[in-house]
């Protein structure tokens, strides 16, 4: 078995793990990060996309609110190109108590969240689809943050600073000697090779899976996965974040993220972080809530439904089960104090917005245990080149138009038409990741995320990947089918009107034209509806 050594070993390639690795490497530790999937493979790649201003929490959880506004300001500086400065509004719809707005304004003031009530026309003139009967509108500095962009930027920065990032590497066990974790057993999921990495400190940032790692150290850690379902509407129905001005509840936020707008979320405790199918009632519930903000919401095209799991730590283990009541703020768990095993710290709870702060707390604790004093510098040091601007929607269109003026459709054709991804981008993505998995390419380039959900781009990208990575035809068929299966999962709850037509067309392309269900073993891959479910 191969052996490696790293001072700090981070488990998890989500927002928290990447931030922790960045923090550690910037404090001068030899750092390595392990992720069993791709970057943002877990909850981070499935979150709502809101960079909180703190507004949502000013009344219910003031501590979180203060963390959010501070981190909101910092992230805008360190990962600007992942953030779109959309602003956010808290609006009182006819279904909400108008008096809450006063409570809200006072709480914003108390927690230092900038909030300004403006004449409703300011917002309603800009956002023409919003309910014209909205009676109060308060502006806060919410923003949209794309998790794929954010995690890619962080990973890039970490690697540039000398840390190692190993994707598709799963932690399968911990080496414990004299009550201390001294190494991690790892399996390379692509090659099935297993090996040991020795380390002085393991930072468990595996989110909803944190309990599994704790168990490897013989500890018991109750992390209740709280499922949250969201629906991406096909277009941006709003260009700003819109929150209902009421106590935080389900389905009360609409976030414009890239080309879509996302309504969410639900919150349901589930058994396992790996299996949590979306229920039809959730879809109906979310679309109905959308109606309160945008009359006629349901007649717009709902493109995709998906869910993520909140990694909610239950310190009282076995007590309450409603997951929104659990503490939202993060906590560092010291397994030395808790389970008598040193060299392992677990981060639980938290938010995407507070990832940097969580990492700082975690690495502060690691420094303490490693008996070294090294200040955290992540808040002052941008992960991107100076002068990098915020993301804006038309950016991709502009870039494409500018390059189109030089090239023509023939020299750099568009592969994913919906999301405007040209061949050069596809090739660069595959080149960088060396991954034949089309889902990785999707997270990198947004390929397949538009209205046709892979109908027209998947076979094209698959062909390019097949050529570049010298795959066998069988392999290539399987990766194509797997990708389509992923896409189909997100559509299955939304099959009416245009999405149903779209599915019929996509199915015809892959089943009847390309005969994909004859070339792959569909026993383990569900490719579009089977006779039973159809």
């Amino acid at each position: 078995m191969r052996k490696q050594f790293t001072e700090v070993l981070v488990i998890g390639g989500g927002a928290t793990g990447l931030s922790a690795a960045r923090d550690a490497v910037m404090r001068g530790f030899k750092t390595l990060l392990l992720e069993k999937g791709d970057l943002a493979h877990g909850t981070s790649g499935r979150y709502h996309g809101l960079l909180h201003s703190g507004g949502r929490y000013v009344v219910s959880d003031p501590h979180s609110a203060r963390d959010c506004i501070a981190e909101n300001r910092i992230l805008r500086k360190i990962i600007p190109s992942a953030i779109e400065n959309t602003d956010g509004w808290f609006v009182t719809t006819p279904e909400d108590d108008p008096a809450y707005a006063d409570t809200f304004l006072a709480a914003c003031k108390a927690q230092g969240v900038p909030a300004e009530e403006l004449n409703v026309d300011v917002l309603l003139n800009k956002e023409r689809l919003l309910n014209q009967r909205i009676s109060r509108t308060i502006r806060v500095p919410d923003a949209a943050c794309d998790s794929f962009d954010a995690t890619h930027i962080l990973a890039h920065d970490i690697k540039a600073r000398g840390a190692k990032v190993l994707l598709r590497h799963e932690v399968i066990g911990l080496e414990i000697r004299r009550q201390k974790v001294c190494g991690v057993n790892v399996r390379n999921l692509l090659t099935d090779e297993e090996f040991l990495i020795e380390t002085s400190m393991v930072l468990n940032c595996s989110g909803a899976w944190a309990g599994n790692i704790a168990a490897m150290a013989g500890g018991f850690l109750k992390v209740t996965p709280g499922k949250g379902t969201m629906i991406a509407m096909n277009t941006r129905l709003v260009n700003t974040v819109v929150n209902r001005c009421k106590l935080p509840h389900d389905g009360d936020i609409l976030v414009p993220v890239g080309t879509v707008s996302v309504i969410g979320t639900t919150d349901i405790p589930v058994e396992s972080p790996d299996q949590y199918p979306i229920e039809d009632w959730e879809v109906e519930f979310l679309l109905n809530e959308g109606e309160a903000l945008i009359p006629g919401f349901k007649k717009f095209r709902a493109l995709r439904a998906w869910a993520g799991v909140r990694p909610l730590y239950d310190p009282t283990a076995g007590g309450k089960t409603e997951s929104r009541d659990l503490t939202r703020s993060h906590a560092v768990i010291d397994h030395q104090a808790r389970d008598g095993v040193g060299g392992l710290l677990t981060m639980v709870g938290g938010k995407f917005t507070t990832m940097r702060l969580m990492a700082q707390d975690l690495v502060d604790e690691a420094c303490k245990q490693l008996r070294t004093k090294r200040p955290c510098t992540t808040a002052e040091t941008p992960a991107e080149a100076p002068g990098t601007k915020h993301y804006y929607l038309a950016q991709r269109l502009n870039r494409w138009e500018q390059s189109h003026a030089q090239h023509t459709a023939l020299t750099d054709p568009i592969i994913c038409e919906c999301e405007l991804v040209p061949e050069s981008k596809v090739r660069a993505g595959i080149e960088a990741s060396q991954s034949k998995i089309l889902n990785d390419l999707r997270r990198d380039t947004r390929l397949g995320m538009g209205p046709c959900q892979g109908g027209f781009c998947a076979y094209r990208a698959n062909g390019i990947a097949c050529g570049m990575l010298a795959q066998t035809p069988e392999d290539a068929h399987t990766t194509l089918a797997q990708f389509l299966q992923e896409r189909w999962k997100g559509q299955r709850n939304l099959l009416w009107d245009h999405n149903l037509r779209q599915l019929e067309l996509d199915q015809n392309i892959y089943r009847n034209l390309l005969g994909l269900d004859h070339t792959v073993d569909t026993a383990d891959i569900e490719l579009y509806p089977t006779e039973k479910t159809a």
Binding site: L397, L420, P451, H498
Partner: protein, 409 residues
């Protein structure tokens, strides 16, 4: 933001319905001949998802859409692609400013006024190669683009002095003649009046101005809206008096019927009334003949002509009424073009960067004309006639001129 209002929002949001089937792109005459234009699906519903009202945008490819409207017609899912393109172009122009050339091409009326006053001298510069070369270099109007000649006597002047055949006609018609008839081709207007009066209509020509389509398609929505509103105000009194509006230019009538509401986003009862009561001259005649079971008699005309229905005519959803009427002329043999588009699309083909595209689109039509070698080419749209004439050396007239010719003497 004045360019996009709530009703254009409906147009732009129809992008939601696109399922990417490519039917529109397969039918687009521009996409068929050039790589510069990625096609209706791409610049319409696809790019629409990436457009952002508040951010700078470099929305250039959409300018290569010639606005023929075929895509919106063929889309099986109700995506208003051509309309969406018009809105996107207007937003782009609103942000970047409208080029001088587009401003000139968008204003046939003031140009016409000066031109007709000084004709035939005003026709000279357009015939002089060095001047045309200079025009191309300075303002981007292609040196080979055919232009019509100004007439010395405007149609409206003629109308005022003509003695009506029918003072107490059964049907009251207000004729929307458009700029081209007034300044360049009064003969078309004369033919329309002659035919209408012959079939018992009382014809009036209301005060009117340019329909606004040239401005609209050159990206000046606000100015086009002013023209539209002014026309509506001038025509409404006639509608209240039970007149119907009849036009001989398929593009002007389409503006009144469709664009005022669906592209410029005007709303209200008046614009709806105008739309409902506007008819293409042949649509009107066809109705008249069937409704009143008239059996019009025409003189024998021994001639072989070629008829090219302009693309905008399709968006009228009225079939090809001209062919029905032409068929009634004894002795006349005519071929109907199967080409989608002549290419010029209003003022599109006059522009230096688009001239070649328009020519290439027109090749199919020009070849058909060449094959049939007709005595004349009939076409209901003025800019198409000038373009066809300029590229085939076959005289091109409005079909109504032939009908007027065929009336019993």
């Amino acid at each position: 933001m004045t360019v996009i209002d709530i009703s254009s929002l409906e147009t732009t949001l129809s992008s939601d319905q696109c399922i990417k089937c490519n039917i529109c792109t397969a039918s687009c005459p521009v996409a068929a001949v050039t790589d510069k234009f990625p096609g209706p699906k791409a610049v319409g519903p696809q790019m629409q998802r990436l457009r952002q009202p508040s951010a700078p945008s470099y929305d250039k490819s959409v300018d290569f859409c010639n606005g023929c409207g075929v895509c919106s017609l063929v889309c099986p899912h109700g995506v208003q692609i051509a309309e969406m393109n018009a809105v996107a172009r207007a937003v782009q122009m609103d942000r970047d400013g409208v080029p001088l050339r587009n401003k000139m091409l968008g204003r046939p009326e003031p140009l016409g006024k000066i031109g007709t006053l000084t004709a035939p001298f005003s026709n000279l510069p357009l015939a002089l190669p060095p001047l045309r070369w200079a025009m191309e270099k300075t303002i981007g109007i292609h040196r080979k683009a055919p232009f019509p000649s100004f007439t010395g006597k405007r149609f409206r002047k003629w109308f005022k002095s003509h003695a009506p055949e029918n003072l107490i006609g059964r049907r009251k018609v207000v004729y929307f003649h458009g700029c081209s008839t007034n300044y360049y081709e009064p003969r078309v207007g004369k033919a329309v009046v002659k035919v209408l009066e012959h079939f018992g209509c009382k014809v009036s020509i209301a005060e009117q101005n340019c329909c606004g389509l040239p401005m609209q398609s050159n990206g000046e929505f606000d100015a086009a809206r002013e023209l539209a509103k002014s026309n509506i105000a001038k025509l409404m009194p006639y509608i209240r008096e039970n007149y119907v509006i009849v036009g001989s230019s398929t593009s002007c009538t389409l503006a009144l019927k469709h664009d005022y509401q669906n592209i410029l986003g005007l709303q209200g009862r008046d614009v709806e009334m105008i739309a409902k009561n506007t008819f293409d001259i042949f649509e009107f005649l066809d109705d008249l003949f069937t409704e009143q079971t008239l059996n019009p008699q025409f003189r024998r005309i021994k001639d072989a002509v070629f008829y090219h229905p302009p693309c905008q005519q399709r968006s009228h959803f009225m079939g090809q009424p001209a062919t029905k009427i032409l068929r009634r002329i004894p002795g006349l043999s005519f071929e109907v073009s199967t080409a989608d588009c002549c290419g010029v699309a209003g003022t599109y083909g006059l522009k230096a960067e688009k001239y070649q595209i328009s020519r290439d689109i027109g090749e199919t039509l020009f070849a058909q004309i060449d094959r049939h070698s007709p005595s004349r080419v009939l076409c209901d749209s003025e800019t198409c006639r000038w373009w066809i004439e300029g590229h085939t050396d076959v005289e091109s007239i409005h079909p109504i001129e032939l009908i007027a010719d065929a009336l019993p003497r």
